[in-house]
C-alpha cells in the first residue's frame, strides 16, 4: 500500500512537471471537453422551452448537463489516443521493462491532468450556473449516495477504456475503434440526452450496457431522481460492472502481453 502511494506520488509529480509547462494546451483542452455538454444543454434547453421533456424541465436539463460536465471531468480518459501512438511508435516496449503495470502511469497522468484542469472547469460551471437558469435541489442524502457512485463510475470507465484500448496490440491502429466506442457511449451513456428522454427501446437497451453507469447514473443520483430502493439497486449493479471490468482487464492484459511483438526494438 505504502509502495503504491509512493509510486503514484512519483508518477504524479513527474507528469505535473511536464504538464505545467504547457498551460495553454490545458486551457484549450478544457474548453473542448466542457463545450460538448454545453451544446446539448443549449439544444435541450431550447427544445424544452417553458415545458417538460422526458420528465425534465429547462432548468432540469441545465442542472443535468452541468453535473454531466463535472462528473465527466472526473472520469473521461484519452487512453485510445495514447495506446494507439504507443504501440505504433514502439513506446510500449520501454514501459514493459519497468517493474510496474503500465496502467498506473496512465492513471496517474490522467488524475494529475484533471487536478490541474479542474481550475478551469469549475469557473466554467459557475459561468453556466449564472447564465442559464439552473434548477438544483441538492439533498445531503443524494450527494452522499452520489459520491461513491461517481468514484465507482470513474474506475469502471477507466478500466474498461484502458482494456479496450489494448486492442491496439491486435490491430495497431485503434483510434477509430475508440471513436466508435465514443459514439456508442455517447448515446447509451446519457450524453446526447438524459436516458429518460431517449425513446423507450433505446433506454431499455442502455440499461443492459455498462455505459449509463459511468456518468449518467451518478448524475441522476445527485439530482435525486431515484427513490432509495432503486438507488441502492443501481449502486449494486454499478459495483457488479466494476468487478466485471476489472476481471476483463486482467484477462485481456495477460493475452495482450503474449500478443505483444516489440516495435522499434
Amino acid at each position: 500500500m505504502r509502495a503504491a502511494l509512493l509510486l503514484y506520488r512519483a508518477y504524479c509529480a513527474g507528469s505535473w512537471g511536464v504538464q505545467r509547462r504547457y498551460p495553454a494546451a490545458m486551457c484549450i483542452w478544457v474548453l473542448g471537453v466542457a463545450l460538448e455538454p454545453v451544446l446539448y444543454l443549449a439544444v435541450w434547453h431550447t427544445a424544452a422551452g417553458g415545458g417538460q421533456l422526458g420528465g425534465f424541465s429547462g432548468g432540469d436539463f441545465a442542472a443535468y448537463y452541468l453535473l454531466v460536465m463535472l462528473v465527466n471531468h472526473v472520469s473521461y480518459t484519452w487512453f485510445f489516443m495514447v495506446m494507439d501512438r504507443r504501440v505504433r511508435e514502439g513506446g510500449f516496449s520501454a514501459l514493459l521493462l519497468r517493474p510496474v503495470h503500465p496502467l498506473h502511469g496512465d492513471i496517474a497522468e490522467n488524475l494529475t491532468f484533471k487536478a490541474i484542469t479542474a481550475v478551469a472547469v469549475v469557473p466554467m460551471a459557475v459561468l453556466l450556473c449564472l447564465t442559464m437558469e439552473v434548477r438544483f435541489r441538492l439533498g445531503v442524502l443524494d450527494l452522499t449516495l452520489a459520491a461513491p457512485s461517481v468514484l465507482t463510475g470513474a474506475v469502471l470507465r477507466m478500466s474498461l477504456e484502458w482494456t479496450l484500448s489494448l486492442a491496439a496490440l491486435w490491430t495497431t491502429r485503434v483510434e477509430s475503434f475508440g471513436r466508435v466506442y465514443g459514439f456508442v457511449s455517447h448515446f447509451l451513456g446519457g450524453f446526447a440526452a438524459p436516458l429518460t428522454a431517449l425513446p423507450a427501446a433505446l433506454h431499455a437497451t442502455a440499461s443492459w450496457t455498462p455505459f449509463p453507469w459511468m456518468v449518467a447514473f451518478p448524475v441522476e443520483l445527485a439530482m435525486g431522481r431515484h427513490p432509495a430502493a432503486e438507488a441502492v439497486r443501481g449502486l449494486l449493479v454499478q459495483a457488479g460492472w466494476l468487478v466485471a471490468s476489472l476481471v476483463l482487464l486482467r484477462t485481456v492484459w495477460r493475452r495482450a502481453l503474449r500478443r505483444h511483438t516489440a516495435v522499434g526494438g
Binding site: A25, L35, A42, V43, A47, R173, S176, F183, L202
Partner: protein, 260 residues
C-alpha cells in the same frame, strides 16, 4: 505545375500508408455510418418530443446535418490529418526536414496526409442533403447556387481556422490535442446558432465561426438565406485565410529549430 505534381505524389504516398491498416479502415467506415446515425438519431429523439427547434423543422435540421457532414468531411479528409502530423513534428523536432524542402512549407504541411475514408462522410452528407431536399422541395436556382458556393466558403473557412490553430504551435509548442478539440468544437455546427445562449452564439460566430460554416449555407438551401449573413461568411473566410497566412509567416520567423 511542378507543385501540383509534387503534391499528388505526396497524397498518393499518404494514401498507400493509410491503406496498410485494414482493420482501422473498416472501423473508419463504421465510424462514418455511426456518426451519421448519431446525428440523425439525436434529431429523431428530439423531434419525437417537439415540432421545431429555434425555428428549424426536422427536414431542415436533417439538411443542416448533411451540410455539417460535407464540411467536416472536407476538413478531415486532408487538412486535419496533415496538420496533426505537423503539430507533432514541431514538438518532436522533425519539422526541420519540411523546411528544407524547396516548396512553400505551409502548402506542404497542409497536404501531406489523407484520411481517405472521410470521403465516405462527404458522400453520406450529399445523400442526406439530397433526401432532405427531396422532402422539402428545391428552393429555386439562385438559392441553390448560393448554398453551393457557401458550402465551399464554409469548408475554406474551417480550413483556415484549423491552420490558425495549428500555427499556434510555434508559440505554444505542445498543443498536440488542439485539433482534436477543434473537432469537438465543430460539433456545435450541427445545430442552428439560435439554440445557443447569446454569449455562446457570439463566440461561435465571431471567435470560432463554426456555425457560420454550416448554418448559413443550410439557410440558403432551405430558401431562407439572408444576403447579409452570406456576405459575412464570405468576408470572414477571406479575412481568416489572410490571417492564417500572416500568422504562418510570423510563426516561421519565430521557429527556432529543435535539432540544431
Amino acid at each position: 505545375m511542378n507543385r501540383a505534381r509534387l503534391l499528388t505524389v505526396h497524397l498518393r504516398a499518404a494514401l498507400k500508408a493509410e491503406l496498410q491498416y485494414r482493420g482501422n479502415f473498416a472501423a473508419q467506415a463504421l465510424d462514418a455510418v455511426i456518426g451519421l446515425g448519431v446525428a440523425l438519431g439525436a434529431i429523431e429523439v428530439l423531434f419525437s418530443r417537439v415540432d421545431s427547434l429555434a425555428g428549424w423543422t426536422a427536414p431542415q435540421l436533417v439538411l443542416l446535418t448533411g451540410i455539417y457532414l460535407i464540411v467536416g468531411g472536407i476538413v478531415n479528409l486532408v487538412v486535419h490529418p496533415s496538420l496533426s502530423r505537423f503539430v507533432r513534428e514541431v514538438l518532436n523536432g522533425t519539422f526541420d526536414f519540411v523546411l528544407l524542402k524547396p516548396i512553400d512549407a505551409q502548402l506542404l504541411v497542409g497536404l501531406r496526409e489523407v484520411q481517405v475514408w472521410k470521403a465516405v462522410d462527404i458522400s453520406l452528407g450529399c445523400a442526406v442533403v439530397g433526401v432532405a431536399l427531396g422532402i422539402q422541395g428545391l428552393p429555386g436556382p439562385a438559392p441553390v447556387a448560393g448554398a453551393l458556393l457557401l458550402v465551399g466558403v464554409g469548408a475554406c473557412l474551417m480550413c483556415a481556422v484549423w491552420f490558425i490553430a495549428a500555427t499556434s504551435v510555434f508559440w505554444l509548442i505542445r498543443i498536440d490535442n488542439i485539433l482534436a478539440i477543434l473537432q469537438s468544437c465543430f460539433q456545435s455546427a450541427k445545430w442552428p446558432a439560435g439554440v445557443y445562449p447569446r454569449w455562446l452564439r457570439t463566440f461561435l460566430t465571431v471567435v470560432l465561426p463554426m456555425t457560420v460554416s454550416t448554418a448559413v449555407p443550410a439557410e440558403f438551401a432551405t430558401g431562407r438565406g439572408s444576403l447579409l449573413r452570406g456576405t459575412f461568411a464570405v468576408l470572414a473566410c477571406g479575412a481568416l485565410c489572410v490571417l492564417s497566412r500572416w500568422l504562418w509567416k510570423r510563426g516561421l520567423r519565430r521557429y527556432a529549430s529543435a535539432s540544431s
